[in-house]
Structures are given as C-alpha cells and as structure tokens.
Symmetry: C2
Subunit: 166 residues, 2 copies
C-alpha cells in the first residue's frame, strides 16, 4: 500500500503539535519540581486522590485515571507513602484490592502546589490563546482523543470537589 504523505498544511500543524507534545511535559514538570518537590506525575496522582470520595481510590482506578501501569503506580505510591503523603490499606470489599488514601500531609501538599501549577498552565498555554482558540482547542483535542482514547479511559468521571487537577 502506497503511503499518503502529508500536505504542507498538515505537516505544519503536525510538526507544531509534535513540538508542543514534546516540550509541554518538561515545562510542567520543571515548575512543580522547582516549587513543590513533586514530579508532574506525582502531583497528578495526589490531585486525582484529592478529587475522589474520601480522598481514596483503589490502585487500579487510580492507575486508569493517571494513565499509569500498575507496577509504575505501585512504585510511585510506595515513594509517596515513604514521604507521608499517601497511605495504603487493604480494601474491605475485596481482599485482593488495595486502597490508596491521601493523608492530611498529602492534601496540604496538593493545596500548596496547585496555585503555582495553575499559574503555569495559564501563562504557558491558555494566556497564549484568545477565547475562540480556547474553544477550538477543546474541539480539536476532543476529536483527537476520540482516536487515541476511544474508551475515554483517561477522561474518567471526576466527581466531588477537591484541588484542581491542572
């Protein structure tokens, strides 16, 4: 089958999107590490817990929300546990499962980190766009997610109030 190459317009759009995808994680990570001693992934884990009922989630559910493999999450939660930000306990309803719960210290850490993170998202992304572009971006990203995440695994239901996810 012969390859259908990209048109000029497609190529420009793709090269730029690829650059954003390549650079943005580093920007977010750097700010959080600098200001809060947290990797972006660690922050995200804490943020997801902060939004969950009881600030508690089963490992599997937390892995789905953070798009992590179970081994990766297990290691990270172990380190967060060592730092006193998260506590593990066996799940009462299912003996196989483990619940991860945000501790008071973990909550304080997220609350402390959130404003700086949101400020970064604002200054590095949203403030670069006008209102129309923000709406366009929402549409475009939704379309792409329809392809790369058809089951909406990462866009899982977010109930309850809590610290902003960023």
């Amino acid at each position: 089958m012969s390859t259908r190459w990209l048109t000029d317009e497609e190529r420009v759009a793709w090269v730029r999107l690829a650059a954003v995808v390549e650079l943005l994680p580093g920007v977010l990570d750097a700010q959080l590490r600098r200001d809060s001693r947290l990797s972006h992934f660690e922050y995200f884990v804490l943020a997801m817990l902060s939004e969950a009922p009881e600030r508690t989630l089963r490992m599997t559910a937390l892995a789905a929300r953070t798009n992590a493999t179970l081994p990766r999450l297990s290691h990270v939660v172990s380190r967060l546990e060592d730092r006193g930000l998260v506590a593990r306990s066996p799940c009462p309803e299912d003996g196989r499962a483990t619940n991860a719960r945000l501790t008071a210290g973990g909550w304080a850490t997220v609350v402390d980190a959130a404003p700086g993170h949101v400020a970064t998202v604002r200054s590095q992304v949203l403030d670069a766009l006008d209102d129309a572009q923000v709406r366009q971006l929402a549409q475009i990203a939704e379309s792409i997610l329809g392809r790369i995440d058809p089951d909406g695994v990462v866009m899982a239901p977010q109930r309850d109030a809590g610290a902003p996810t960023g």
Copy 2:
C-alpha cells in the same frame, strides 16, 4: 497573590489538551516499537539525521533538534551505533565536536519505518480533524510554542530533503 482559577471553558480545553499530551507519545511509541523496533525518540534521531546535509549533524545540533540533553543523546547514539544505524566521527573543523552520521543501514531503517509512522499520525490525529481544524491547530500550537519555546530551539531550520520526520 491570589490564584486566578480556570473558567469552565478553559478547564475543558486544558484537561483535553493534557490528555492528548499524556497519551499521544505512547501511541506513537507503541506503533514504532511494534513495527520497527525503534522508540519514538530513536526514530526521531534517525529522521533528523536523514534530513541533514550529508545525513550528518554535530551532537549538539542533533540534541537541539531532538530536544534532548547531551548525555541522553550520547547514550542513545551509542546504542544506535552498536546497532549499526549511526556512525560517530570527530569533527574536522572543531576537535572538541563529534559528528553523528546516518549509515546506509540507518537510512534503510528510517525509510522502512516512515510510512507506518505517517499512517499512524494520519489515522490517530490528522484524519480526526477537518481542514479548518488543521489550520486552527497550526495557529494554536504556534501560539503555545511562542510561550514554551520562545527561541524556537525545537523548530530549528529543516533544510534538505530526506525521510519524513513524522
């Protein structure tokens, strides 16, 4: 200073963009690993070399184009060298510098990998958008890059023909 939180529209746009940024690298990586035994980063290194004059670039220039740190690039090039895809040689003009050159085998590898990669980009991203959205995306991504990459380090000049970068 009090935090300016996100409006509903901003939050939707950001959550979706964040999801794309989180998922897209894995999608690209998985296809290349599966079909070409190459990580996305390795592919990108080979692609950048394939587009350079003489298919050769100094390590520093290659690091800039791939947004890699020098240590990271050095390790990766060592492994690509072990696989016979890239060759290192001292730079004649500057005794401190090292040139990385794509070998015949490396060229063949990129040429072989490119169609599948482009097909993935198409099916997972571009085909999800209409023409207007492609143009909007180019604009939006450019605006964001203006913040996160003001000096255009990653968008370095691309001269010469070669295998598509993806």
